[in-house]
Every structure is written in C-alpha cells, then in structure tokens.
Symmetry: C2
Subunit: 409 residues, 2 copies
C-alpha cells in the first residue's frame, strides 16, 4: 500500500516553510550544530515523544508548547542532549525557545525545542543565544539541507525525504528530515524527525495520521534496543497548499495518511542503514503468530539479540540463534511448527534443519540487505521490524564516544 507513493528525487520544503542550519560552536571545529525550521504561518501540529521515564528538558517543554497550539518554528541543537541537567536544563531549554522566538518575532510558546547529543552536560545556551539573529537571517526555502545536517550526531549521512500527492487538484508536498544512528529501539530512541507539509488538515486528522505512520515506521526499527531520553517526531501542516480540508475515511484522507507513512518509513529505513557500525539492513518478518502482540514480541526479540546480530555480521545463516530468541520472546510457540527463512530460503522447517544447502543460505545472508522470515504457523498475527547487524565497528565507536566528548572538560 504505502509503497505506491513516489518520492521526489530532490527533496524540497513544502510551500510556506523555510529552514537554515549553522554552526554555533557546541560541537566545535565549525560543524553545523543548530537548525531552525519555520512556517510562515502557525501550523497544525502533532507529535510523538519518547516513552522513556527520564525525559530531556526540551522534550518536556515541547510537550507543553505542542498542547497550547499555534506552533510556528522548531529550533534544534546537536552535540548536547540537555538531558539530566536538573533545573538548569529546564531553564536552558526555555532560554533556547526565547532566543528563537525573539529573533523571529514570535511567542516563546510557538517554538518547539529539541536537543540531541550527550546526556548530562550543561547546554552552553549562550552560544545559541549569540547566533539566534544570524540563523533567522539565514532562513530560506532551500535551507533544508543545512537544517538536516545541523541535527546530526553520530550519523554518517543526512536524511531527507519528500513525497508529493494531489488532493482536489492542489499539489501537496510532505517532507521529512531525521537523525539517529545509535540508541535506536522501537518506541523511538535517540531519533528526531521533523515532517513538514503544506496540506490543509485538521488537528484530529493529523494526530491520527501521525500516530499510525509512526507505528509502522519509527516504531518498527531497532539498532541496539536502547531508547533515549530525547526522541521526538513532529509533524507540522501549514495549509499553504490551499486544498479544501478532508475528513477521516475519505479518499483524500487515505492518500494523505499513506504519503505521510511512506515518508516516515523511508526515513526509518535510512536510520537503520546509517546505524552505528551497521553493515547489513535486515527485515524481520514474523508470520503465523497467535496474536499481533506475539508477532511483535518475536520480531523484537530476534532484532535485539546480540548473538543473532553478530551472526548476520559474519554472513552466517544461524537459524539456531533465531529460534532460541523466538523461544524466549514470551510468545506462544509450537517448536514443531516453526519455519525460519533467509531471503526466502528455508533454514529451518518444522523446528528443525531444512534441506537447503548451507552454501545457498550463506549466500542469502551475505547480501547487504535480506529478510529473515519467522513463520510460527499457529495463527494470523504478523509484524515486521527493520534492523541491522552488530559489528566490531559498533563496539569500537561506542566504547569511545563519551570519553572523547569529555576531553575538553
């Protein structure tokens, strides 16, 4: 379904949005680390946030601003998560919103604030305040690329996607930018995504569309099973396309939801492909589970098993480790019915080794992208999760990060 929406070759911001990204000195060495995304008019907005009980200060502030309504801008810094900084962190998040609001001539409550980076270091908010006029000055319809680069942390590539649909003869653009490369788990972890659209859409419709698109995209990816304090997906719709509004259940609504889901799914896939140390993109497809919940349990259990992920890194069709993770997932399982396939080739059939020659299974897992199918053959529950392998590169990267960041302290 969602795959039938075409993506633009060159992503562009929807009408009535401008963006910019500059270096304010948090990361140092002239790296882009502050992004601003602005709608010419207040936008209907919806968002989902981390379910981590420890939430960063900007997350708590943005939750309040979202509730008020009338959002018109997002300011994002990278290099510092402004999480676990106590009262000072909350004050700094507000100062960041105030700095952006002042330079834009908006109210503080119209600013959505995000931070991503290291936890527990005070945010040097004065650096953001100092460049607020400059980043506003730099706003332009073509500023998406700089914005998307300014929000990155350990990502190797920026991630921007646009889709275009037509509703009632009006051209509607949906464009998203995302970041996140580690600490990624279902329920969104250390990832930020900002989706803008010029569609005219009601708040209720946008909320439903956002929730359902997140459920099948960002909540279906897992890199390391960790879930961060800062995750946020924000969707802003400013109505500049001038389409007449549509209601739930209409063809227009279906098309809009499908396009939004497509943009988010593509961003989610790019997050997995850019995962820290990832060398493979693996789809875990669970079929035949007793319930949907069981299907999800199995998919996540397999996706989060270090042993399974190491085997993929070695191009090893190790279905024994997969069935082991199936067994401890908590899902109902009848061992004698479990089939496990690599790229469509049976590794295990009915809970034991299938006859497929090992060389063929190895070739399937040696690919850069492949699907592992687990069919429990006891019901109709199904679920898909997108994940990566676990490499020595992941460990090498993550054993050093914090120590390096603190060299300057």
């Amino acid at each position: 379904m969602a795959q039938s929406i075409d993506l633009l070759r060159s992503p562009v911001l929807p009408s009535g949005f401008r963006a910019s990204g500059i270096s304010c000195g948090i990361k140092g060495a002239g790296k882009l680390d502050l992004g601003l995304l602005v709608s010419d008019h207040p936008a209907v907005s919806a968002a989902t946030f981390t379910t981590n009980r420890i939430k960063a200060a900007p997350v708590k502030l943005s939750m309040r601003h979202l509730k008020k309504g009338g959002l018109q801008a997002v300011v994002v810094n990278s290099g510092n998560a402004n999480a676990c900084n106590g009262k000072r962190g909350e004050k700094d998040a507000r100062s960041m919103a105030q700095a952006a609001a002042g330079a834009l001539g908006l109210e503080e409550g119209q600013i959505f604030v995000c931070s991503t980076g290291i936890i527990g270091l005070p945010l040097p908010v004065e650096k953001i305040q100092a460049v607020a006029p400059a980043i506003v000055e730099d706003l332009r319809p073509g500023g998406l690329r700089d914005f998307s680069r300014a929000i990155l942390t350990s990502d190797k590539r920026n991630k921007v996607v646009s889709a275009r649909i037509s509703i009632g003869g009006k051209k509607i653009t949906i464009t998203g930018a995302a970041k996140g490369a580690g600490m990624i788990a279902p329920n969104m972890a250390t990832m930020l995504a900002f989706i803008t659209t010029d569609a005219a859409v009601t708040k209720a419709e946008l909320e439903v569309a956002t929730k359902s698109a997140v459920a099948t995209s960002f909540n279906c990816i897992s890199i390391d099973g960790d879930m961060s304090t800062n995750d946020t997906v924000l969707v802003m719709a400013n109505g500049a396309a001038g389409n007449s509004s549509f209601r739930a259940g209409s063809t227009a609504s279906r098309l809009f939801r499908q396009a939004l889901a497509r943009v988010m799914l593509e961003l989610a896939w790019r997050l997995v492909r850019d995962g820290e140390g990832a060398s493979k993109f693996v789809t875990i497809e669970v079929l035949g589970a007793a319930t949907q919940v069981d299907a999800r349990r199995v998919a996540e259990s397999v996706a989060n098993s270090s042993l399974v992920k190491c085997s993929w890194n070695g191009s090893d069709p190790n279905w024994g480790r997969v069935i082991d993770a199936v067994g401890y997932s908590g899902a109902r399982v009848d061992e004698a019915k479990v089939d496990i396939l690599f790229g469509g080739l049976a590794g295990a059939k009915g809970g034991k080794a299938a006859r497929t020659p090992i060389a063929r299974l190895k070739a399937a897992v040696a690919k850069k992208e492949f699907t592992v199918t687990v069919n429990l053959n006891i019901g109709r529950g199904s679920h898909r999760v997108f994940t990566s392998d676990l490499s020595e590169g992941y460990v090498a990267y993550n054993r050093l990060e914090y120590a390096l960041k603190l060299q300057g302290r």
Copy 2:
C-alpha cells in the same frame, strides 16, 4: 551472609561420587566432549531448567527422569546441543541415556542427560554409544577435572568449586562444575551446572535450597541477555556423609542452604568472568527502588544495554547511558532523585552530573572489577546483577562460530 562459607582450595568430589571425561569425537581433534558423573547410590535430586519455550530434547527427557526419582548419573556431551532436531533429537537423547544406563548397569530413567553446543545439527549419538563402556571404565573419585573440561563449549577455563561444612559432627562436601560463556541471561542461558553433595537431605529441603540458591546466583548474571534452549542446574545429594537429616528452619538447614548458595554464586561469578570477549566484571547494585521487581528491572535493563556495556569496555564512566537504561526499564523513577555511582564515586547525584572529577570516575571504571550503584531513592527495593562489558572480541567470536562449525558439512 553466604560469603562466610569457605571454599576449598582444591575442589574434590563428595563421598560416593565418581566422574570422568573423555573424547568421543563430536568436537574432533581429540578434545574432551563427553562427561559422566555417577553416584554410588540413588541420589535425592532437584533441578531448575531453561524457561525458553523451545527446549532441547535432553532437557525434556531429563525433566521426566527427574520427576520419577532415583537418579544416579549424569551424562553430558558438548559440541552439539541436540536442540531443534525434531523426533530424531528425542530418540537420540534417549539413546544417550540408554547407552550410559547399559554401561553402568542402571535403568534408563536413572540417567540425567544434558547436551550443549550448536543448535539444529543432528547429534552423532553413535559416537557416544561407542565410548560408553570406556567412559564408565574411566570413572574415579578424582575424575572431576576431566568431567568439568568435557562439558565446556566456548569457555576458556573450566569451573569447579567445593565448599565444606559440618552438620552434627559429620563433614559434608558440596561441589559444583559449570559451563557457559555466552548466551547467558537471567533465568539461566546456555549454562549447565552440576552440583553434588554427600549430605543426607530430604527432597523437599533440597528443592527449596536449590531454588533459592539459583535465584541469587545463576539468575543474577547476564552476559548478552540471550537465554538458551538447554540450561540446566542439577543438584544431587547421595547422603554418603551420614549426617542425620535436618528440617527447614533448623541451624543445619540454614548452613546447608548457605553453602549451596555460596557454591552456586562462585560458579556464577566464574561464568561472568569467562564471558565471551569479557574484559570486565561488573556488579550492578540497585537500591531504593519502589519494589523488588522494579529493582530487578532496573538492574537487568542496565546489564543488557549494549551501549552501557560498550562504555565500560572503553573505561568510560558514562552515567548518561546508565540513566537512560534506568528510564526505559519500566520501573518507577523520579529523575531528580537518581544517584549513579561508579566504584562508590558519584557520577550523577539527584539526576544530574555530580562534582566528582572525571579522572577519578574514569579510574574507577578502568578497573577489571567494579560496582555500578543505581540508587533510585524512592523505596526499599534492591537487586544485584553480575555482568560483563561488550567488546569487539565478543562480536569477532560470535560472528564466526556457526560458520566454522559447519565447515565439515
């Protein structure tokens, strides 16, 4: 409490037990891969098994034999888990029991069978049948070392522990041998432990003592969070010490339980120290949780976080990743009350960075063994988990294992 029991410098089998370990050719290259442990008389026995819903054939068979009572011997092979082999696997597990029973002159139902190694490859049971007379021939009171080596898989060291106590003037020995180095999670994963004692003890008393000792030892360790199809802890008590039996609540009972727990805890620690690629031994101590269940959730969440484990590998006192794992553990948390300590030094105090100089925190985490304390400061729940770091060596080992094993196929 449990620490006050002294361990013997040179572990020995309790009276009335003999053991042996030989090479039957499953692993090849003359490596020890078949162990036998026999009591001169039927032993009162208790066991705990994997909670994985996919259970290996020998686990299912041994559960039945344990229930019958009258166990007198354990036969264990390494190199092949005999898991996920369908009906053939069940037949092979029985053949293995029959081979041992035949050579020992016992009933099939008196034999406890265990297998450990690769999942999903048929067990070459004829190799075991061929050497059954030889391994019985080789049984001797001093055979514990060979037995303990024959049950190893990816372990670098064999693990044997003895404790001695005195009850009513009779000297009682409790001795355990264990294996397991990866796929280790709470609720016992890819680990086997065989504890023998010459104590005279009732079945009810042994069952309670076993359950409680496992709960505070093998169920409190985690290497990679994976839980295998074959885990088993067996305790056999043959009464050869000649003590008069004791009842629950007596001083003798307390002493016996304490000694059994001490032996299991020491074995559990050795499993963690010998973890695949492990370079650190880390105790996670959670205090002040709202409930015991919450304390356990937090400890396991921290112990199973790949990001946290990588930071330890890099001697990085990264409390931000720790508090992140605390936040998504599902436990009740008040961010402003959370303290995180490394080796007793505060990394975070009240949910934000403490003033301890980074150099001192780094020195604490650079040690080979250290404790990470998480104090939630909201209740009285506490729990301890013993775990290791995540290294490039873990990945390098686990990306290759299965592929190598299958070279011969």
